[in-house]
Symmetry: C2
Subunit: 420 residues, 2 copies
Amino acid sequence: MSTLYGNAIVGQSGGPSSAINATLAGIIRGACADMGVHIKKLYGMHHGIVGLMRGDVINLTDIFFKDGIIDLEGLESLSLTPAAALGSCRKKLPAPGDEDEELVMEAIFRQLSELDIKYFFYIGGNDSMDTVAKLSEYARKKDIAINFVGVPKTIDNDLVGMDHTPGYGSAAKYIATTVGEIIRDTAVYVDPAVTIVEIMGRDAGWLTAASALGRIVTGQAPDFVYLPERSFDMQRFFSDVEAALATHPNVVIAVSEGLQFADGKYVGEATQSSAVDVFGHKYLAGTAKALEIAVREKFGCKVRSVELSLPQRCAAHLLSAQDIEEALATGARSVRAAIEGATGIIMTIHRITDSTSGYAYDIGYEDISLIANRTKYVGDSFINAEGNNVTDECLNYILPLIRGERFPRYVGGLPTQFIF
Amino acid sequence: MSTLYGNAIVGQSGGPSSAINATLAGIIRGACADMGVHIKKLYGMHHGIVGLMRGDVINLTDIFFKDGIIDLEGLESLSLTPAAALGSCRKKLPAPGDEDEELVMEAIFRQLSELDIKYFFYIGGNDSMDTVAKLSEYARKKDIAINFVGVPKTIDNDLVGMDHTPGYGSAAKYIATTVGEIIRDTAVYVDPAVTIVEIMGRDAGWLTAASALGRIVTGQAPDFVYLPERSFDMQRFFSDVEAALATHPNVVIAVSEGLQFADGKYVGEATQSSAVDVFGHKYLAGTAKALEIAVREKFGCKVRSVELSLPQRCAAHLLSAQDIEEALATGARSVRAAIEGATGIIMTIHRITDSTSGYAYDIGYEDISLIANRTKYVGDSFINAEGNNVTDECLNYILPLIRGERFPRYVGGLPTQFIF
């Protein structure tokens, strides 16, 4: 742990979210508050480390900190803008010992040296934390004095070592709201119909679980919720659908895009692209569509599939106030951790019990090597015994994270967005 | 034209929308205001005329009008609730001379007689107006004294004889907002990628046109917008995509679900269900998916398709204040028209020029036989010469209709809905 004096740089990486810019705004605010003490200037990488390697950076201090005054209005607008405002990337760094490790690492550290970077902030999910872990480990080995801090962001909520991730609350709020509206929409007809809603989350079912929130708030929740944490069994699924259709005409089912059969085959495999992304993840599509076809063949009733798709991670017109607050706070706190000398860390959010609201949070940090490249799954106590829904314990975990509404400023009927 | 004394009844029919309950609230308010003068009670049909034929009606007066006081809070909540709160149907009435005409009509008029109905309000789109036209014509022939009033509602905005329809403004606002967010989301990466967004609108391109609103408000609009009013040409489409990819990596395209080639085949036909609905419309799905496959084969780049799907007609968490105001006003005005003796009519909204805001509206009505079963298409001056986008004149037509925001009341992080 050492205290350094120089410039700072921040990048955004991985899939965008509705809260990733609030975290960026928090880091900018934290850096401006320190300005001249440890940090001289704050740079932003365009498109993460891919941009950094090309020297494609902008001076954020120039934009948000003029004559000693922080542009709070600009930061507010940035906070409520969806999708990585600095641009993102999905670059996987070579592992120690890989053929091209030295080449890539030298290119990155040359840029960092030229910019006199002492503090490095990287906002992202699981894969982005792998980048921070590799960079900080390389710096440690080479005795390079830069503090590397990972700042969590993922709608997937699948990082270990923390209660939840910024970005999850807003996505969960959007999903619960939209599924509630779809249930309402499908309820207007009397003829038997099954609606299958597909929700993001390749490995972990946190987002799909959020579709059930209406059950303890508005009374409107899907009949069944299938998470990727349980093997999917088509016969049990048919039994579930049959039982529901016997009691009411409009059956709504939420499914994770990542549902797999017991043999490991994806439910959506029939309509799946063979492409894999650079981290080797299979690109999935069509779980709901595959089930739509199966239910229509089996029951002969009206069946519809709906993919909530991209709006789950970019619908900034409906943000969780709690999520945005925590994203900002985590960003600001990460600057403090870095200037206090921490490196090779990831910021974490912990849940503490508050006597008034029952929920409060605290921000800390953890050794990033303990967290990167691991997945936090929905726990057993959050899934019912039948494996076709979530428990109230699960919903009570999610509920505080969707509290409160933040809306962007509207001009001419449309939400405004911050553009660099 | 005759003035009658008795009960009134209201039903909702066809596809739900985010504003159809505001129209219902307007009718309830109009009826309560008249209560005891011409109207004794206001009934609501459960699931439109299908429910009416079974005698499945509820007494709305009992719910919203107690001791001479109108439940304004309840009506407000109803106004901001998506999807037909009374339930809907897609029943097509037999045409005059059809074998079952007498049977069906007698069943309906028997119920109306038993309930002592003198005023009949039916909220819906094109197909629902066909119902109103047939009922009023039958009553005229049989000399039955009931005033029949159609109240327009369709997100499709495809009714002739009026400037626009309630429901369109909120759907247009949701589409423009969501497409703007998707554009933002796709812009974070530097690799060439094409995103194709599929928008509702079987015959007319009004909803798809709304995706371009960002062009004159926030600067964020799709590169191309293809409406069903123009034949779709795959080679011209490939040329458009190629030209766009040559200037920027992230190309976003909005397409109508109803796009057809010059020979009349639907673009989405490959993935289309063979089912037709009761009005004989083909059920379409997969226009964007079909184009996604074509673009991937042609260009080999990353391609993604997004169907905005059901939320287009039920996303009541983002309503146009202008739309909700007009829906309420149209409902209330329809009661006045009916008690003044009009029958066989449909309410209409006309645009007038206001010296301050440039936009004002006026509500009138028209002979329903002139309007039912016809489709209002996007006009030539609203589509560019290349047939791959809309004109500013088109956007200036839509813009006043998305003005202002109405949000539902949130409890525990989720929007509340009115439930009968």
